[in-house]
């Protein structure tokens, strides 16, 4: 008999072993290298009685992967319940086991014998871990469905949307094609895709990211499942689209009484949408409870640290963020006892034992021996920041009328950047914020001279750089450096870190030989807080945070005046993100650097910038000093962006308005006439359809391009 392929083979251990009596199960655990190292088989929270039905109930879930490099204990005893009509969040940083535990629940983990799953899970009271793969398949998509992170890759590119939505109905419900088609039309209407009949015949590449995610949700809803697991459903989407998608999920949960498991790293989303939250760290739930309890009165030191490390729009801005030192532990070599112990300031010898998840109040439990004590409501409500005079009058970088058109032939023109003007004071930071496709990255590429601008000027220290050639272009390149978003793909995997950093020094002849260049590299590495031995590592041997430090060091070796940071922290985990932002701030103080900081995260931009420019479809719609722009946003787009960012202050059920912007960003290939924002603007009038708004000054520094503002 041929063994089933890996991707359909259900882990045999799990299926056999949940049928055993508890006593035996314990024994199996011991034999399997003590999977069950926890003293708390269940989450006390989970026993709580709530009106309605428990749809999904997970008990003591363990997942282990046997790899060449050793045993990875990815999930270590996770228990939680999901009731009908509620959203339960699993929140944590990458590698905390939130996705792996959900894939295990779906029976979607690869690996056959190399993967061990144990524990129990029941769906509407039926223990389904004991089922065969064929029975499990009948549940998947029928009773328990999943929405994945990347709507770009999660849909099959060669099948129409219609077929992909109909597939689960044809497989599970025995619908005729016609019936399935009609239901697909219904579903698309339900998830807010206009013109569903026509859209069903289209392919995924003909949809925008937000629309694709709506299609994913329609697929998940197809068979009326009782539980949907949404794994980072909006991480790849823009903030206004994110709000639309989560509002949609919220409506569906309320209306259809689905239980939704929301996996996310974004605490703001948890605050706004989740009823209950489970905070995960290194494969365990370290804190669980209602959202208001956990976010307002965190008890585990990790939760408290995480809440402090995330910059929030409605909290007072601090010069430096409070950070959690170190980095999440490797799952191959977990620290003894509490996994957070090495990073925890409150840790004691007692923490060498694993703390059990114990209940502190009716709907709050934590696994910490030294719970965080806060005084009243945490975090404190913010007061608006006073407007201080601008830090420096002298502009290092002045951009005026910068324009980039891409000509696609046959008269088609993408107006990627349109008449953009701003200046950045010496030693200051300009934050450039906007959604994808707004032209912020193109702008960075123009300033780096990786693209040739169509029109405009761009002066650094009074020297126009837009048409420099040869040696003078090379000199300019030294002065302007860049830090990219993804430190892994922007470092050559075959070069040791030091070699990658030495290269530009030699190319620019800033150092005579390799040895002197190496000295400079070590200086730069120590500036970013890396020991010089790191220079001998390859990028894959470092963590994400360390790699981003290398990315910054690579910019610093050239002793630049100006650094363009293109989404430098968006690929990093929350606790690491704070460390990197603090590093950037410290370096700026120490070296007098000037930054152009590009990001889509408004809270991050507010934290780091002196001046902020908001872009929409290639145009700067509003700019001003941080204090005035965030305190008094004038352009309706800026207002909408700010309103779309979820924060800890407004919890679910506290009378929050919904995501403010409807519709999608128009294509820059065919931008709307007049004011480009009028198609989505709540204030738009007929005038906005025709008149292109000029940028006008509200104060000396605050400018807005809107006739109605």
């Amino acid at each position: 008999m041929l063994p089933l392929p890996n991707f359909v083979r259900k882990d045999r251990l799990a299926s056999r072993h949940s049928a055993l009596p508890t006593r035996w199960r314990q024994r199996v655990h011991e034999l399997l290298g003590s999977i069950n190292d926890s003293e708390n088989p269940g989450n006390p929270m989970a026993e709580k009685q709530i009106e309605g039905d428990v749809l999904l109930s997970v008990r003591d879930l363990h997942v282990q992967f046997l790899t060449g490099a050793g045993l990875i204990h990815a999930v270590r005893g996770v228990s939680y319940d999901v009731w009908a009509g509620e959203i339960v969040a699993l929140v944590g940083e990458s590698g905390c086991g939130k996705s792996v535990s959900s894939l295990a629940l779906m029976g979607l983990l690869h690996g056959g014998d190399a993967t061990r799953i144990s524990g129990a899970a029941s769906l509407k009271g039926m223990d389904y871990f004991g089922l065969s793969e064929e029975q499990m398949r009948r549940l998947r998509g029928r009773e328990i469905a999943m929405v994945f992170q990347e709507p770009m890759t999660a849909l099959n590119p060669v099948l129409t949307i219609g077929i992909q939505i109909m597939e689960p109905m044809l497989a599970h419900l025995g619908y005729s094609r016609e019936k399935a088609w009609n239901r697909a039309v219904e579903l698309l209407t339900l998830v807010g895709v206009p013109d569903p009949e026509r859209r069903l015949g289209l392919y995924p590449h003909q949809f925008s990211g937000g629309m694709r995610q709506r299609v994913m949700i329609a697929i998940a809803l197809a068979c009326n499942p009782s539980v949907i697991i949404a794994d980072e459903p909006t991480t790849a989407l823009d903030v206004t689209i994110q709000a639309q998608i989560l509002d949609l999920l919220q409506d569906l949960v309320d209306e259809l009484k689905i239980g939704l498991v929301l996996i996310t790293h974004n605490l703001g989303l948890v605050a706004r949408y989740a009823d209950r939250v489970n905070v995960m760290y290194a494969g365990r739930i370290v804190e669980a409870g209602t959202t208001s309890q956990v976010l307002r009165h965190p008890r585990h030191q990790y939760t408290a640290g995480l809440l402090k490390a995330v910059p929030q729009l409605d909290m007072p801005r601090q010069e430096l963020l409070e950070t959690i030192p170190g980095q999440p532990p490797s799952l191959r070599a977990l620290p003894e006892g509490c996994a957070f112990r090495p990073r925890c300031s409150a840790a004691s010898d007692k923490c060498l034992e694993i703390p059990a998840l114990t209940r502190s109040t009716q709907d709050h439990s934590d696994a910490c021996f030294h719970p965080f004590k806060d005084n009243g409501v945490y975090p404190a409500a913010g007061t608006p920041e006073p407007i201080k005079p601008a830090i420096s009058k002298e502009a290092l970088l002045t951009v005026s009328g910068l324009t980039k058109h891409f000509y696609l032939g046959r008269g088609a023109t993408v107006r990627a950047v349109e008449n953009v003007s701003f200046s950045v004071p010496t030693g200051g930071t300009l934050g450039l914020v906007g959604e994808s496709g707004c032209g912020k990255t193109t702008l960075a590429r123009l300033l780096l001279r990786l693209e040739q601008a169509t029109a405009g000027t761009f002066e650094l220290d009074g020297d126009d750089l837009l048409f420099k050639r040869g040696q003078r272009l090379k000199d300019m390149r030294r002065k302007i450096q860049v830090v990219y978003q993804d430190p892994f793909t922007s470092l050559n995997p075959r070069h040791k870190v030091a070699d990658a950093l030495v290269e530009p020094l030699l190319v620019h002849k800033l150092r005579k030989n390799r040895r002197e260049a190496r000295e400079r590299v070590e200086e730069a590495l120590s500036l970013v807080g890396l020991p010089s031995e790191m220079g001998d590592r390859y990028p894959h041997q470092m963590s994400g945070g360390q790699r981003q430090r290398v990315g910054i060091a690579r910019a610093l070796v050239m002793e630049p005046d100006f650094i363009i940071c293109d989404e430098p922290v968006s690929a990093l985990d929350v606790s690491i993100q704070a460390q990197i932002m603090n590093l950037l701030v410290e370096l700026q103080k120490k070296l007098g650097l000037t930054y152009l900081f590009i990001a889509h995260d408004l809270a991050v931009v507010r934290h780091i910038s002196d001046i902020v420019a908001v872009m929409y479809l290639g145009r700067v719609v509003e700019s001003g000093r941080r204090q005035e722009l965030f305190a008094e946003p004038r352009h309706p787009y800026t207002q909408a962006l700010l309103a779309a960012v979820p924060s800890f202050r407004g919890l679910k059920g506290e009378g929050l308005s919904r995501g403010p912007l409807q519709g999608e960003i128009p294509s820059p290939l065919n931008p709307p006439s007049g004011c480009v924002f009028h198609t989505r603007c709540p204030l738009a009038t007929d005038e906005c359809r025709t008149a292109v708004p000029e940028s006008r000054s509200l104060t000396e520094t605050h400018k807005v391009a809107c006739v109605r503002a």
């Binding site: 469905a145 099959n156 590119p157 392919y203």
Partner: protein, 319 residues
Amino acid sequence: MLRYLLNRLMLAIPTLLGVATLTFFMLALLPGDAVETMLRADGGNPTPEIIAAERARLGLDRPILVQFGDFLWGLFTGDLGSSSWTGKPVLDEIMLRLPVTLELAVLGMIIAVVIALPLGTLAGIFHGTWLDNLIRIFAFGGIALPSFWLGMMLALAMLWFFNWLPPLGSNSLFSDPIRVLQQLTLPALAVGYRYAAMLVRMMRASVIEAMSEDYVRTARAKGLPASSIVRRHIVPNSLLPTVTIIGLEFALMVGSLVVIEQVFSLNGLGRLFVESVARSDLIVIQGIVVVLTIIFIAINLLVDLAYAAIDPRIRLGRG
């Protein structure tokens, strides 16, 4: 879609011109004189005057660029010149032998595709199992064994076990298809094996890649049966890279026909090619190269069409 097709057709023209130019000048630069070789072939000892007269008759005394222009114009009007050996038009010589070669090539391709796609899919889906290992060994054999040797072994085996050899003589596919099949199956197997081996490897790799794609995970999350995941999600996406290889490997296979036609005494293009080389009949060689190029371009045009049929992103344009 039409634009895509026209685009591909327009690209074919510079390719053909490039190959024609390259062939013409490479042959012109070759040492040795075709006329002299031809005149000496019967053991004669031609005087320089006779050689010169013969060169003038063939137009070889003209400047090289004039000859090239003549060749290009001929190409344009479908006239590939006349053989310097038999004096017959090259096009006639080629058309006489083209059917056998084409039939053999197409049969080889069909055999390869029919064998390779299922095997490659199986190997990919069950990768890491004994079935996969078996298929990989099979594929490895196809790459390691020379096709002429395999052809001889096949013929010998048929003779040994069944006392049967493929029929000889030239047969038309339309008048006697059975006989043509009898004649061509063994050589087609011999050349198709290698072709199949390449395709198996490509298909296996693409299937493995497709299996780890997010959309396959989505399909599993929908609870689809394994058979529809393979049929609808894995195979169509794995075909794209494999189809490319079908086009590229076709050219390699046509090259190996030169030898296999000798082994099975088939009077095809390959044989004509070998004979023409022996006779230094440059004009025929030139003609064969041009015809093979056209076939290659046509096959790759078909591949591009297949691409468009499989992938809506090409058919409908991006975004």
